[in-house]
């Protein structure tokens, strides 16, 4: 056995925090806890995504065929409420959109959308030995350190809103391989985005052996029922003095709450207020619950960053609202759990959510909770 301590110490000695990071971290104190000013990851992604709208990549050939009936069939596991979505492998020839070169055929097999949350399954199939070799080495990634927009998506497999038709939309985008269905000549990926505003057009970025940075426009019109309600505080104090939840948009896929700024932003709407930034941590959502018809509450206690989305500003096309309060994906939020061995698993789990069963929402922060009924 080698000398672990010495070799590891020597190797890790070379890992140093960048000067710029040190400087930024020191600056935090000057802003009395202005969290957003310090390279907020999501804000950064949002900027990159917005920049992407202007990027022009090679257009792919596509064949649209998004019948709701077909999609419903493909997502049978989802619709029947099964925990496991097992239809991917049984339905390999969805071909909603396709592109190919000599060695690989790429196809969008399935799309599920409520226009705020969009999920799609993408399949890559090798056509020859060279394709198999490419597929085995294929490693899509969003290069978050890239200097230019093109580089960000160059080696990526992702879906983002078509920003040209909806400026001001913010969101997150991610992908994950469905390892379970991987074979020598086929690989499946699920790609997903969550935006703050409904969109009906999206862009997929992908690569083929013939090149990277391909872009394909896809129809992401909703194919699940969506419920919109006004919110009314049940009793007591509101959830925050910085905003007032006003409206909610629900589907089996996601929940988005919009609100009215009462101190979250400065008057010109460009900056978070200092007071809010100082108290941000306590204002973050810890969980939320859905109020059933009988008054009991079903809690959705998602740990992780997505629950703490309070305060991200968006251009809200929603009467009486000027801020985005909460956004949460229900379907497959826990697509990949951390296993007991600490490793990330590749399974697909649906979080069953039936919006039609609920009559209100309970929001929970460190400061307390408040219940809002649907009107």
């Amino acid at each position: 056995m080698k000398d672990i301590r010495k070799d590891y110490t020597d190797a890790m000695d070379t890992v140093q925090a960048p000067e710029e990071l040190t400087s930024r971290t020191k600056d935090i104190a000057k802003y009395s806890g202005k969290k957003v000013a310090y390279g907020n990851r999501k804000a950064y992604k949002k900027i990159l995504a917005a920049m992407a709208a202007a990027a022009v990549f090679a257009m792919a050939i596509f064949v649209p065929d998004t019948s709701a009936k077909y999609i419903k069939k493909i997502f049978a596991g989802f619709w029947s409420g099964n925990k496991e979505v097992g239809s991917y492998a049984e339905q390999p020839d969805g071909n909603l959109y396709t592109d190919e070169d000599k060695h690989i055929k790429m196809s969008v097999e399935e799309i599920l959308s409520d226009e705020v949350c969009v999920q799609a399954v993408v399949k890559f199939k090798a056509k020859d030995e060279k394709g198999i070799e490419w597929l085995n080495n294929y490693a899509p990634e969003i290069n978050q350190d890239a200097a230019t927009t093109k580089e960000v998506f160059m080696h990526s497999l992702c879906i983002i809103p078509d920003f040209e038709s909806g400026l001001g939309v913010g969101g997150s985008s991610g992908f994950m391989e469905l390892e379970k269905y991987r074979s020598d000549n086929e690989r499946y990926f699920t790609i997903q985005y969550l935006a703050t505003e409904p969109m009906d057009s999206g862009l997929i970025h992908y690569s083929l052996p013939s090149g990277t940075g391909y872009e394909m426009e896809i129809d992401i019109k909703g194919n699940v029922p969506v419920y919109n309600y006004n919110l009314e505080l049940k009793d007591g104090k509101g959830i925050s003095k910085y905003y007032e939840p006003k409206k909610i948009r629900l589907s089996k896929l996601s929940v988005v709450v919009y609100g009215k700024n009462t101190g979250l932003f400065t008057e010109d709407g460009k900056e978070f207020t200092k007071e809010y930034m100082v108290e941000t941590d306590k204002e973050m959502f810890r969980s939320f619950g859905m109020v059933k018809e009988n008054g009991s509450i079903k809690s959705y206690d998602f740990s992780g960053a997505s629950i703490g989305e309070l305060g991200r500003k968006a251009k809200i096309d929603n009467e009486g609202c000027d801020c985005f309060v909460l956004s949460q994906i229900f379907c497959r939020t826990k697509v990949t759990d951390i296993g007991s061995d600490g490793n990330v698993k590749g399974g697909q789990n649906v979080i069953s959510f039936s919006p039609e069963k609920y009559k209100g929402i309970q929001l929970v922060t460190e400061n307390g909770s408040a219940t809002y009924l649907f009107k």
Binding site: M12, L21, K26, A29
Partner: protein, 154 residues
């Protein structure tokens, strides 16, 4: 205590632990900033420098875990593409070992890092990570075993 001095004295410590856990410099930078932000907001009274260090690493590890749980952050950049990997001058043995350590599950990596690099004792690591001493020992033992197997294969 002077905040800037705390940053200077501890930023590499927190950054290395975060890199070790996330295998990703971009995430590690976010972890560092969130950790020091929490330090400012905590209102916690610290007894000494070591108390701060232990608090920082505990918060950093929790931040890392939360990041792992988030859907959007699972697609980590592979080890080969890490900036520090590209820039660093290392011997083959060091590269091999680092590769092996980074191939361990996160819960083993962080224990190995704190034990071998930071030189903490089992009891101290147990305090930092809110684990029992025997649990830390078991993780160390399993991590060593996995490393041994990996390095033998190589």
């Amino acid at each position: 205590m002077d905040y800037e001095k705390i940053v200077e004295e501890n930023i590499n410590f927190v950054y290395r632990a975060a890199v070790c856990y996330c295998k990703n410099t971009r995430d590690a930078e976010d972890i560092v900033q969130n950790t020091f932000l929490k330090l400012l907001q905590s209102g916690q009274e610290f007894q000494d420098k070591e108390h701060i260090r232990k608090w920082l690493v505990r918060v950093a590890v929790n931040e890392c875990k939360n990041m792992w749980k988030s859907y959007w952050n699972r697609n980590v950049i592979s080890l080969e593409t890490l900036e520090y990997e590209k820039e660093a001058v290392r011997t083959d043995e060091q590269k091999e070992l680092l590769q092996a350590v980074m191939g361990l599950p996160p819960k083993y990596r962080i224990v190995i890092h704190l034990y071998y690099y930071e030189g903490y004792h089992v009891k101290e690591i147990a305090d930092m990570l809110h684990l029992s001493e025997s649990n830390v020992q078991i993780r160390l033992m399993r991590a060593r075993k996995k490393l041994k197997e990996y390095l033998k294969e190589e």
